[in-house]
């Protein structure tokens, strides 16, 4: 599956995250900025990669500004962003 168009999901409120995605044919670019990077960067990255894998997306650009979202919020926002970007659930 591919990201077909630019899309966003989430907010910059505390305990939420803001996700922007863009199409890219060649590679996967993932940029994460988080207020809890010191404590949770590994698990944020894992949640994002997990959701991409679930939607069978292997290329595209994903930009994230995290304000301390829980794992379930990250997955939900990712799912929304991908669906808005034209990715269908496999």
């Amino acid at each position: 599956m591919k990201i077909l168009k630019n899309a966003v999901a989430g907010t910059l409120e505390s305990s939420d995250l803001f996700i922007q995605i863009e199409p890219d044919d060649k590679e996967l670019i993932l940029e994460i900025d988080s207020v809890v990077a010191n404590q949770y960067m590994d698990s944020i990255r894992a949640a994002v990669l997990d959701t991409l894998k679930e939607f069978e997306v292997s290329t595209g650009k994903v930009f994230i500004k995290d304000k301390g979202a829980l794992d379930c919020v990250i997955r939900a926002r990712m799912e929304t962003a991908l669906k808005r970007g034209g990715v269908e659930q496999p």
Binding site: V36, N38, Q39, Y40, S43, G68, A69
Partner: protein, 467 residues
């Protein structure tokens, strides 16, 4: 004889300020204070170096102090609270000598017993006469109580009053009297009135905050302290104020008449006193306009000094007679130690203020805080900074449950009997970690950037630099 001088420069010259001295400031102008920056800029212009600044609190408006540190004008810093802007710079290590943190009571006590020596104190006075009688109650920059400035005035070698509201002698309602004051300087503005206090302080509408406040109020009720003669202190934060609201409802229902409320005073506490729930208000600092109006006009509303509030060097202080205090926390550890100095990444963004004083004095010290804030669990194995010793903290109230200090067996039984959700503190920690995940430990450097002194002057903890 007049103490009135023509300029701040003249005052600084007359006091004999020179390299290596300690100068002090109080923080009733809060984030609207112009005086600290004004004095440091003048000292820098006069080429004075190597000063130690002892300010009861440093706010974000004092950011220019970073420049004065870099240029060597300021080489020492002592305070009871430090806002995030200067805190970040300090955490990164711009000051060679560690910052000394005290509590509000500890600062007053250390001045009293001579272990904290002030050469020159600068007092921001919303009104003053030409002999230095001054007060915070009147004028365009009115801040209400001048509580923290009393020790500075009484114990510094030289004392300069700066005012933007010079009145004819004698000022009719004096807080700090002329006997302590050396010089008076009239300046255009001592602060920005819109930032000195908030217009109104409001009760939180956040459902988590209200849930925590509701549980805390139940703890107060079932502790047995909520009866005639009840005394109470709570902060200005939305959740703390909500506790006051629920406590008021209980006092109304059971016709309870309290004795005093204390602390940083808000309009909400003023209303409670006016409705007859408290006999008197002991005010070391006003948080909003209503509190200022009240301290000016209401005979039940007394100004108290930091000494009378919380000094461990005094023969007694009001905190010793306090029944219940509601406190906040950025972190709590499984031994009930509380951190209010740093954020979860180890950056300085606060300080004890009266936290450890009231926790030590009050019969019941309740910490209210959400179990998780922006994914970070409140409860950790070890706090990044021990601001208040766990032995003085009785109860931690979160939205998911209440932890009672194991030393308070009787209290725990009372709360359990009342059907409150009492849990072991380790269980609360586990609940948070199941929701948020276990946080990775924050790495810090090995340089000490701040020393935290307990209220009796002993070293409680150190804060290391961030990396």
């Amino acid at each position: 004889m007049s103490k009135l001088l023509g300029s701040l420069k003249e005052a600084i010259e007359k006091t004999g300020l020179k390299d290596g001295m300690t100068i002090s400031f109080h923080h009733h102008m809060r984030n609207g204070d112009y005086v600290l920056n004004m004095v440091l800029a003048q000292a820098a212009e006069m080429g004075i170096k190597n000063l130690t600044v002892n300010a009861s609190s440093i706010f974000d408006i004092h950011e220019p102090i970073i420049g004065h540190i870099e240029s060597g004008v300021v080489t020492g810093l002592e305070c009871n609270y430090m806002g995030g802007k200067v805190g970040k710079a300090i955490s990164r290590g711009i000051l060679e000598k560690p910052v000394i943190f005290r509590s509000h009571g500890g600062r007053a006590g250390d001045m009293e017993n001579g272990s904290s020596k002030i050469d020159i104190a600068f007092i921001a006075a919303p009104c003053a006469d030409n002999m230095g009688n001054c007060s915070g109650k009147y004028g365009p920059s009115a801040c209400g109580s001048l509580g923290y400035a009393f020790s500075d005035a009484m114990h510094a070698d030289k004392v300069v009053v700066l005012t933007d509201n010079l009145v004819p002698y004698p000022l009719k309602d004096t807080s700090i009297a002329e006997g302590y004051i050396d010089y008076v300087v009239e300046v255009e503005q001592i602060g920005d009135p819109t930032k000195i206090v908030s217009g109104t302080t409001k009760i939180t509408r956040d459902p988590v905050g209200l849930r925590i406040a509701g549980l805390a109020a139940q703890v107060v009720k079932n502790s047995g302290y909520l009866k005639d003669g009840f005394s109470f202190q709570t902060g200005a934060g939305g959740a703390s104020l909500a506790v006051a609201k629920y406590v008021e409802e209980m006092m109304e229902k059971d016709h309870i008449k309290g004795s005093f409320c204390m602390g940083g005073i808000t309009g909400y506490l003023v209303d409670m006193a006016n409705k007859g729930y408290f006999e008197t208000i002991l005010d070391v600092q006003c948080f909003d306009l209503k509190a200022i109006e009240s301290i000016r006009e209401n005979p039940k509303h007394q100004e108290i000094s930091a000494m009378r509030y919380a000094s461990p060097a005094a023969k007694s202080a009001a905190v010793d007679s306090l029944d219940v205090v509601i406190l906040g926390a950025t972190q709590v550890d499984t031994d009930f130690n509380v951190n209010v100095h740093t954020d979860s990444n180890g950056y300085i963004m606060g300080g004890s203020g009266g936290h450890c004083d009231t926790a030590a004095g009050a019969k019941l010290a309740i910490v209210v805080a959400p179990l998780i804030r922006a994914r970070l669990p409140l409860i950790v194995d070890q706090v990044l900074c021990k601001s208040t010793p766990g032995s003085t903290v009785d109860v931690i109230v979160t939205q998911r449950g209440i932890a009672v200090n194991p030393a308070q067996k009787e209290l725990r039984e009372k709360l359990e009997k009342a059907g409150l959700p009492v849990k072991d503190i380790k269980e609360l920690k586990k609940i948070a970690e199941e929701i948020a995940g276990v946080p990775k430990a924050v790495e810090r450097g090995d340089r000490v950037v701040a020393k935290v002194l307990y209220r009796d002057g002993t070293l409680l903890d150190t804060i290391k630099n961030t990396i």
